[in-house]
């Protein structure tokens, strides 16, 4: 059997799955972000620390994300809009899933590309029509994958990746959100 390598350490993930089955507390993670208003609708959000495996954890370095609105919204366009960050999250989560599932199923990937389109009727956020929701009406993701596998196997990779995706779940199912003033 030729060894395939998509750069995912699947064995470590499978081992973690076995260990965490018997240790549900260690499986509880908290992801954190801290945000700061700059000016207008421009803000920066930084991420470095999180909690998991029973203790504080840290990324190798801090990442700072800039969000703003485009000039067509009469803003300065210092960065992408907040709702576009959801597309970043969805695309990167599904892509990571495709790579992991492919590794686990012994499928060598050569390229994985996707485009994500979120359809958004901005009359909702503008309060122009109370029947229009604020968020996306729908999102469409299109994958183009080059791999040593049949069309059906590639479709199954993408389906399994959605089934195990944190962001796909967070977008397709409701989540309780609490917003407090400290």
């Amino acid at each position: 059997m030729t060894t395939i390598d998509n750069g995912v350490n699947v064995q470590a993930l499978l081992d973690a799955r076995e260990v965490l089955k018997g240790a549900p507390e260690a499986a509880k993670f908290t992801w954190r972000a801290s945000s700061k208003w700059q000016n207008g609708v421009h803000s920066t959000t930084s991420i470095q620390n999180f909690f998991g495996l029973g203790q504080e954890q840290s990324h190798k370095s801090e990442t700072v994300f800039t969000a703003d609105h485009p000039e067509v919204f009469a803003a300065e366009d210092n960065g992408i809009t907040p709702i576009e960050y959801l597309l970043v999250g969805l695309a990167s989560c599904l892509t990571a899933g495709v790579a992991s599932v492919a590794q686990n199923r012994g499928i060598q990937l050569r390229s994985v590309e996707s485009t994500v389109e979120g359809n958004h009727d901005i009359r909702g956020i503008l309060g122009a029509d109370s029947d229009v929701r604020n968020g996306f009406n729908d999102i469409k993701v299109t994958f183009t994958i080059d791999a040593d596998a049949s069309k059906e196997d590639i479709e199954a990779l993408v389906a399994q990746s959605q089934k195990r995706s944190a962001v796909f779940d967070a977008l397709t199912n409701p989540t309780n959100v609490t917003v407090d003033v400290a």
């Binding site: 399994q160 959605q162 089934k163 796909f168 409701p174």
Partner: protein
């Protein structure tokens, strides 16, 4: 053999009026006892199933004590103390054959449904005429859910079906019952120690199949064509509204792809075993059509639906089992029916030893092996 009710109790008391087996008559076989009627390809009504099992109890001379409810089983010395509604029994060994489907499962958010909506489980359901007038939301699209959705829709009611992960199957494949293929190709005989992911195989929902005289397929495309509205998996109740998952398209893909792989397995088996001439040509079925747009929100107090039918699965009840062999999810811990406690055994649970374990014809091979183990256990300890 202790039975709290009568022989074939679950088929008498826990099934709806129109139900027929989804397994064909020729497949209803128990050791030394099988269907001998004129319609081997048909599907038994509940009355026929009860008769079939009663006859088996008689011909096998099974020492059944009916009307004897087991209220506790406890470890005592090198055996067990069994308390029943008609006295106590001491024994060396216990075989738990109390069924895998003693209680309907209902998700916790059922408690948040407005009281104007009637909620029932398959154990309460008898037929469409016993429900309040108006629309019905059927939750769950496995065998029970698709059958009840079809029956309710045919009665003229508006029906919405909430669909999570499911197992799609055609009723007939290449001219044969799809369960003939499961049987003949050996898929159903696949053993628990050969299955890739046993935990997952044991959680697999029942297939979208119905036993009808017309031998028709009852998949989501058929239901949609009947006018059943498909929505995603019910995720939560918020402000009196049901919120359904937006991931409907993917549960369709997963089921379509999985069915395709199973049919590939059948085709390969037919080719390898020279059976291509006995069956029709290979077929592939249209993908499940995604409704445009699928609703993800339903106001439960608007009167649009008056009844919710929870077809969200069943679970066993081990409330009487006072031996620490049940896991945190209420499932019995066992290895092929050999339960942790010495002399304690189980039969009739999902993929106990084989994929067919929970079907009527599946118990024979399992029982032989489990009883073999039991017989070896007893003399060793004597």
């Amino acid at each position: 053999m202790l039975e709290r009710g009568e022989v074939a109790n679950s088929w008498r008391r826990e099934r709806w009026d129109s139900l027929r087996l989804l397994t064909p008559n020729w497949q209803s076989r128990l050791p030394g006892h099988h269907y001998q009627g004129p319609d081997p390809d048909g599907y038994m009504t509940m009355g026929e199933v009860v008769e079939f099992i009663e006859r088996f109890a008689t011909v096998s001379g099974a020492p059944v004590r009916t009307g004897t409810n087991v209220t506790s089983v406890r470890r005592a010395g090198d055996g067990y103390q069994v308390t029943t509604s008609s006295g106590a029994i001491s024994c060396r060994s216990v075989v738990i054959a109390s069924g895998a489907c003693n209680r309907p499962v209902v998700p916790p958010f059922a408690g948040a449904v407005p009281s104007s909506v009637t909620q029932i489980t398959p154990f309460d359901y008898r037929g469409p005429d016993r429900l309040p007038e108006g629309g019905v939301l059927v939750v769950g699209a496995s065998a029970t859910g698709v059958q009840l959705a079809a029956e309710l829709r045919r009665s003229g009611r508006p029906v919405i079906l909430s669909v999570g992960e499911h197992v799609r199957l055609p009723r007939l494949y290449r001219g044969r019952d799809v369960l003939w293929w499961m049987d003949a190709s050996g898929v159903w005989d696949q053993r628990h120690d050969e299955v890739d992911d046993l935990a997952r195989a044991r959680r697999l929902p029942s297939p979208q199949l119905a036993g009808t005289p017309g031998r028709g397929t009852l998949d989501l495309n058929v239901l949609a064509a009947m006018g059943v509205e498909l929505v995603g998996r019910w995720a939560a109740v918020s402000d009196g509204r049901a919120l359904f998952s937006g991931g409907l398209r993917n549960v369709f893909s997963l089921a379509d792809l999985k069915m395709g792989r199973l049919l590939d397995t059948f085709d390969e088996w037919a080719r390898a075993h020279g059976r291509d001439a006995d069956v029709g040509p290979p077929e592939r079925f249209a993908p499940t059509r995604v409704p445009e747009p699928a609703r993800w929100r339903l106001d439960l107090s608007s009167g649009e639906i008056r009844t919710i039918v929870w077809a969200t699965g069943f679970r066993p009840d081990y409330g009487w089992l006072e031996v620490p062999v049940v896991d945190e999810k209420g499932r019995l811990r066992h290895e092929g029916g050999v339960v942790g406690g010495p002399g304690l055994y189980a039969l009739g649970l999902p993929v106990l030893r084989r994929r067919k374990s929970t079907f009527i014809h599946g118990v024979e091979d399992d029982a032989r092996e489990v009883v073999g183990h039991l017989a070896r256990h007893l003399p060793v300890r004597r």
